[in-house]
Symmetry: D2
Subunit: 333 residues, 4 copies
């Protein structure tokens, strides 16, 4: 591979446009192509970044000098694009979730491995200092054995309404915390029980509460909701805590240390995920792409192996099944 990673971005929505912007600013990346189903959008981003614009991702993938792609499409389109990229032998950064269900996720991984491609899944929490510090604090020599873990990810109802039946609380939001809990606990979830509520009529679950068991004996609690009124301060509430036999650690992302006040109310602001400051995007997403570029160029392993990324998927499937049946479910791996 060259000293500079020649990269393309497929899907130019909220995340894809940020990927494009970050690559364009990265000294070891060369953003050579962008693609969106909306040709005007592709053209606009192409113009801003100097990349070539495409309307069809297969044309983009056919570029012979393209090393790598970010796939930032809606969940249900991940499989086609990722399999095609794998078959084209490209290095892939696949925005979470890996796929919209477990079977699709496994097909993507199979295609990657068959074609000798490389795959990194965009589990951004693995680059968030709050989560990584908690991971470090939960090392066995510091924490002892994990006793209990709790994760929360709550958002506002307008998100659920906007996404409607095209997504699900588990795959859209839940994959973050299932991945984080297993990573931080150094153990897989083996059994789950979940209940959901559906009163708002958004075409989606309002909330899902679960109790889970880890293989190492710890118990876990999961608290997902996108039922909050839209005036929720900061727009979301997410946190995680782990208590072990020797020490404990917790994080809370709700307050990011910055607020604005107008006559209509007080609002928080992003200072961690992908804040645009001084004209450029910094924070977790930029660090994630920096890692992707460097590890892709050097051939060193990604922070998270793609097989480990797959570990969250059967837990999500089991949570969905438990919420449907009202019974505890063993996770099938």
């Amino acid at each position: 591979m060259s000293r500079v990673l020649r990269v393309g971005v497929i899907g130019l929505g909220f995340f894809g446009s940020r990927h494009a912007s970050i690559y364009a600013d990265h000294p070891a990346a060369d953003l050579i192509a962008v693609c969106d189903a909306d040709p005007a959008r592709a053209a606009a981003v192409a113009r801003d970044t100097g990349a070539r614009g495409f309307g069809d991702f297969r044309a983009l993938l056919a570029l012979p000098d393209l090393d790598a792609v970010s796939i930032c499409m809606p969940d249900r389109l991940h499989e086609d694009a990722a399999v095609a990229a794998a078959e084209a032998g490209k290095t892939i950064l696949l925005e979470k979730p890996l796929a919209h269900d477990g079977a699709a996720a496994r097909r993507i991984v199979a295609a990657v491995e068959k074609n000798g491609a490389r795959l990194m899944v965009g589990h951004i929490l693995r680059f968030d200092p709050r989560y990584v510090q908690t991971f470090h604090a939960a090392a066995p020599e510091r924490l002892g054995r994990p006793i209990h873990l709790r994760a929360k990810r709550n958002g506002v109802r307008s998100t659920a309404k906007r996404l409607g039946a095209s997504s699900s609380i588990l795959f859209y939001m839940g994959v973050h915390d299932v991945d984080a809990m297993q990573w931080i606990a150094r153990s897989l979830i083996g059994r789950v029980y979940a209940q959901k509520a559906e009163l708002l009529g958004t075409g989606n679950e309002d909330a899902l509460y679960a109790v889970v068991n880890f293989e190492n004996g710890a118990i876990g609690s999961i608290d997902y909701s996108w039922a909050w009124p839209d005036g929720l301060m900061n727009g979301f509430r997410s946190s995680l805590e782990i208590v072990g036999t020797r020490s404990a650690a917790y994080l809370d992302c709700t307050d990011q240390g910055f607020f604005t006040v107008e006559d209509g109310g007080t609002s928080g602001g992003d200072t961690h995920l992908w804040p645009e400051i001084n004209g450029r995007i910094v924070g977790d997403l930029a660090d994630e792409l920096d890692h992707f570029v460097k590890a892709s160029l050097s051939g060193r392993p990604y922070l998270q192996d793609h097989r480990e990324a797959l570990d969250a998927v059967p837990v999500l499937d089991a949570l969905a099944q438990s919420a449907r049946t009202g019974l505890p479910v063993d996770v099938m791996r």
Copy 2:
């Protein structure tokens, strides 16, 4: 009844000594008797307050001019004292939990009703402004229908070690939140699922996580722990939130707005529950006793009927059973 409530306190530990102190300061109460199994302790409190000291609660209950008693003994001694007080026709303020199990609780209530006595259970959260404001905010005309509720009560491991097998996380701490959740949701819990962890060897559960269903369709999450290291800021973390179809409300008791800093660390302090300031006890406990005195004198109903206080008990029993069996359990009422 007289214009002043002549009251006695049975059990002079942490809570009983505070009850005695609050009554002694109350203009409509006359603390005439105190009782503790430790005669020195009874004598000391008697000396401080001007009340008569007793070593045996039956002798105290035999005082003819005694109107009412606070019972502040360890959980497993509640039944004997409460039944005796009921049979003596006294008005009773019974510190939570009502009893150490459901059968004992029902025997107490039966004795109260058979003897025409009055009973108020010391559910202090019903006098905590944070919980009561949340209760008011969750009125149907403000909140709409409840969708999901979450309650947390976490403490440090030295409490579990100290109490050992003489108590349980559910009856010692859990009764607070089960009562509060049913009160604030305006609905009973009908089905529960719980898992517990026991790694610390305290003779007690370390933690219990549960998912519950309310009769009105809302789902609930309960998060109990006394496994935190003893250095936990403020010594506890408790919170509650409820999201409804129209609005939402939440409370967090962890930070009470006051801290001290020494070379060894930063510590919080109580400004809500029973702070002793300017030489007297104020806050939730004082308001609870003020209500008890006034309603007892006036004959008006207590904020919480004793039958409603009983509603928490079968939920605790079901949680214990689910944690033991690993299966969802329907609450038996």
Copy 3:
């Protein structure tokens, strides 16, 4: 004096109506009279509480069986009412500020002392557990010598607009913190320097920042504002901190542990000052009146002597003078 304090309330605005309500609920108080310049308002409160309604405070003060009065009128009317009450020999609870300027304050005190009346000034922070805990934590044996103190009291601009030139940031809000700082530091302020800003055109200062020197060598910082946009979370921000040679303490009143969320935003709620819960007013104001009633009946001294209450006034005068001249000013006592 009787076993019950027969009390009247003069001025039935925001504070006066709360005083009336609290007295009506107090077992050792008998609310016998209320007074407001608006006869309809006086009649309404009289009807609700069973007290007699008056339009003229002199008629109220002429009641022979009246023991005590709460004076809750606008700042500039304090002097007339307080002097008249003193001349009538009544026991007085005077809402803060003592008066609208130093000369009036001294005339009130002179009248009280000449007539052998008793006077308590409504410095509510002396009953707020957060401030009192800080006061206790700042005891010399715990804190050592005070090094620096900072106090903040910030509110929204609609308050400044509403009050206009009838009040001032110093006398309306500032008296709280000057009293609290001198009380907690166990020392008087001897020298001040202040700057003010006046850009909003409310007819009032927008903000006043000051640096002060205590007689014991500590330095102080004061931060007053009512220039915040009306959407400020909770409507205010107030805090105080003190660092000493041995330890330190701080309090922050902004977050009171309770929030509601609607589509339009997140709002805090009062859980400390005068929350109305379960149909009655509890918290700092209720504790302040409870103390007033008990100490008035028993003849014991008030927590704060009226001469100590006077100590804040020359500091406010000096702050105003410094802000006007731009020079440091020595406090004249």
Copy 4:
């Protein structure tokens, strides 16, 4: 200049070692030399990074292929090294403060300009998302005219003891906030008044409180202390707020969203400044160096011109003078 910036680090203490580590990880930087007065330290960092080690910064500056240097020495050594680097024509990243006093700062700038070198001062807050978001929120079209600004930077006494008379609260900590306030207010400070406390005997001021006036009419309050007991949660408290005629913004850096709990207490952790996560340093410092590398290579201006960096120095001098004399002081520029 080459496509890669060949860089050296002078001074390998807390900051210098982090600079070295960040450059070693940066794809557009080549760390070719490091220098420390302690040869063992220089050798150790050289071994870890592959750079050459030096004991004398003049030898390092004599390297013909060296493009740029980070100067991370103690305050009083800044001048010699920076002037030498300027005379060698190197591009300079100078850790704050520019110098230990105003005269030295001006000599450094003169040397830079005379030799046609480039200079960026390490004002890290200009890369902190919380401060930059506040800067963006304070744009005139959003904030209106600034009315009042308050900045706080408080730390623990062990820092003051360790640095002793070799540093000062104003130059060590204060330069951050004076620079930030002038930057965010879009206006210079023209007049100051300050008082200091010195009770702890650390060889340094314990605290300094100031009131300042901006040229645009806003007032400011500054609150510096390193007198807190060492057990202060997180080890520091820093915040900034600005209220304007249209809106307001505030930030608080004290809570960074991550905590660990052990039996001895609860501790925060760095998630913003220079957290080392997943084996590399991210956050503000890494972003600052990334900007330095990119702007140095491209020839584009630095975010902050070196002449603007100089604007903080006369304010610090005026604050020191006011604290010494007890009188307001006009800032001399």
